[in-house]
Amino acid sequence: MSGDDTILLAHGGGGQLTAELIEGVILPALGDAGGQEPACLADAAVLDPGAWCGGAAARLAMTTDTYVVQPLEFPGGDIGTLAVCGTVNDLAVAGATPRAMSMGLVLEEGLEISLLRRVLESAGRVAVEAGVRVVTGDTKVVERGALNGVMINTAAVGEVSPRADLGFGRIGAGDAVVLSGPLGEHGLAVMCRRKGLGLAGHLASDCAAIHGLTADLIEALGSDVHFMRDPTRGGLAATLVEIAAATGRDIQVRQQAIPVAPAALAAAEMLGLDLLTIANEGKLVAVVSAEAAENAVAILARHAIARRAVVIGQAGATADVPIVEMLTAAGGRRVVQMPYGEDLPRIC
């Protein structure tokens, strides 16, 4: 963090700066309270309550997240759907079935109650669909201008499937990287709506709970599923680079294989953005054994939100400095890097 004395907006972008903030400031400051495992402060932590009480108990996963999206309502969802889906998804990719969640609301003085009602009704609907109950909550109101309408903080616990055996360490050479569908719809839908760009008509957020996808994969494939992640901030690029960095393995992906939503592609091209680095809120990246790849795709494709699931690449050999490389549609090669913060639209 040297040279940066204040928080930049880019520290929240899910890229390099976010990682530096967590590793350089947050974890050292929390010290021993930060947990014993290197993966602590990951999107979800797996806990072993059996160890606390000396008996046998299911493993639990725990997650927390805070939602500050602007605008509060956007094509395909709102801050309520986002809060529940995001929380559920963080548990889902840890191999857990979401059971209970908390919801802390911070509201701005002057917020329309009708709007609050709409986003909470969305949250409730998604929670019921996902089988998770909102068991505790908190409400605070801050002065006008202290925040933009609504901020939602959640925490949740889920029950980890006994069949789940997930982690970076389980990824091996030849493992297949499976993606559940086209990229960038959430980030672009929000950006277009936020900026009043006339593209939004055809573009909707992919915001969805993916616990059904992850549960089916684990149920059917068990330990052949090696790792799962929902590629939110930083997009697929951040997820792949993180996998490469954590496993020390090169990753190869084929651009031609990556499904594309035409409206998102058009918006990304117009704004000069790379679909690989844009946020998704209803997608799954799963790393599975090569033998299970075809099956994994078939299982995912049974779900409406993953009809276009596909193998996009594979994990390679270990390397001192691992690289994520993409074979482009044109037949050339490029590297895929962790975005700095949030990519900014181009000028011309």
């Binding site: 900026k195 482009t328 000028i347 011309c348």
Partner: protein
């Protein structure tokens, strides 16, 4: 649609013709940041024959803006009564006193806008503050600035002004051809700019300098088609201005150019590294002078300089490739950029780094 394979075969064929005619080495320049990014993102250099080299020209709006401009913007950002409205690419460019991003974090009012009219709307929403729009970019963004100024004048939005640094592309291309150490055999001309100025605007260059000027769009097919057409013209010794991009008309967008002419006069302008180029800039006409931030505020003098060791100036002239700079990938990265070409999403260094920088040598395919 012509297939990529067909286009590659055509490029190879023209490359062989040129080699047979005694021109085994050809250097083409793209002068559009979006092309630079698209070429890197598509890995298109891997598809070109040996001897054909692409260099980037002054096509990134942030990169061609002289350093003194940012110092002026920082000076404005430090004022409590000023809100800076800027395209996002500008916020991370480091100047002598830091970047607008750092200024914002320290409390300065810096708003990212996507279009000039948003800055006018911001001014209307923010009475009591002076909103200064950082009006940079080529003929692509100049019409939007012109329309925004017309709107501000019509509606009497008197807390709006611009810090103007719009640039015109064709005079810069002529200036580049005058550089003794930058061989350029042909230009891949910008798609967006050409939508405004039209492909005929490049005729004087093709005629007077004998260099093909081909406008192309931004997908792989368009770019390879444009390169193929340049090579064909070179092999036929028939340099011309033309377009393979259907969106570009011969005379461009007449209405947009009118808007520019209504608000701006053509003037000399200072470019990073290229210095002052005649008739390459746009200055507000007398009736819009009140909207000129330079008149409204007391600003430091404009100077141009590159940070020590930084070769952004050479990069945007095509004098070297990003990796030829000692700082590239070492002390200059997107995380800690030294020069503007590493900051802007359209900058050559950022594109080369993002899509091609490898911490270890490339393995064979």
């Amino acid at each position: 649609m012509t297939s990529l394979a067909t286009l590659r075969a055509a490029i190879d064929e023209q490359g062989r013709r040129l080699a047979a005619a005694g021109r085994p080495r050809v250097q083409l320049m793209e002068i559009c940041g979006t092309h630079t990014v698209a070429i890197s993102r598509g890995g298109l250099r891997d598809l070109l024959p040996d001897g054909l080299r692409l260099v980037s020209g002054p096509g990134c709006p942030v990169c061609v803006t002289a350093s003194g401009y940012l110092d002026r913007a920082m000076h404005l950002a430090a004022r409590a009564d000023v809100v800076i409205a800027t395209y996002g690419d500008m916020v991370r460019v480091p100047g002598r006193s830091g970047s607008l991003e750092q200024a914002r974090s320290a409390g300065a009012a810096v708003e990212v806008v996507y279009a000039a009219h948003e800055a006018v709307a911001l001014a209307r929403r923010t009475p009591g503050k002076q909103v200064v729009f950082l009006a940079i970019g080529f003929e692509t963004t100049a019409p939007a600035t012109a329309l925004a100024l017309q709107q501000a004048r019509r509606e009497g939005v008197d807390n709006f002004s611009i810090l103007g640094a719009h640039k015109r592309v064709v005079p810069a291309m002529k200036a580049l051809l005058g550089l003794p150490d930058v061989p350029i055999d042909g230009f891949l001309c910008p798609g967006h700019v050409s939508v405004i100025i039209g492909w005929r605007a490049y005729r004087p260059i093709a005629a007077a300098f004998g260099r093909p000027c081909v406008v192309a769009g931004f997908d792989d097919v368009q770019i390879l088609a444009g390169i193929g057409e340049i090579l064909r013209q070179l092999a036929d010794a028939a340099p011309a201005a033309c377009s393979v991009y259907p969106a570009v008309a011969a005379d461009g967008n007449v209405r947009a150019r009118q808007a520019i002419d209504e608000v701006f006069d053509v003037t000399d302008a200072t470019w990073r590294a290229l210095g002052c180029i005649g008739a390459s800039g746009l200055d507000l006409k007398g009736e819009y002078a009140d909207f000129d931030a330079v008149r409204r505020f007391d600003l430091p003098a404009m100077v141009d300089y590159d940070p020590p060791g930084c070769r952004c100036g050479d990069v945007i002239c095509g004098r070297c490739l990003p990796a030829d700079c000692e700082l590239f990938g070492r002390s200059c990265t997107p995380r800690r950029p030294v020069g503007p070409c590493m900051v802007s999403s359209e900058g050559s260094c950022a594109a080369y780094f993002k899509y091609h920088w490898r911490p270890r040598p490339k393995a064979s395919p």
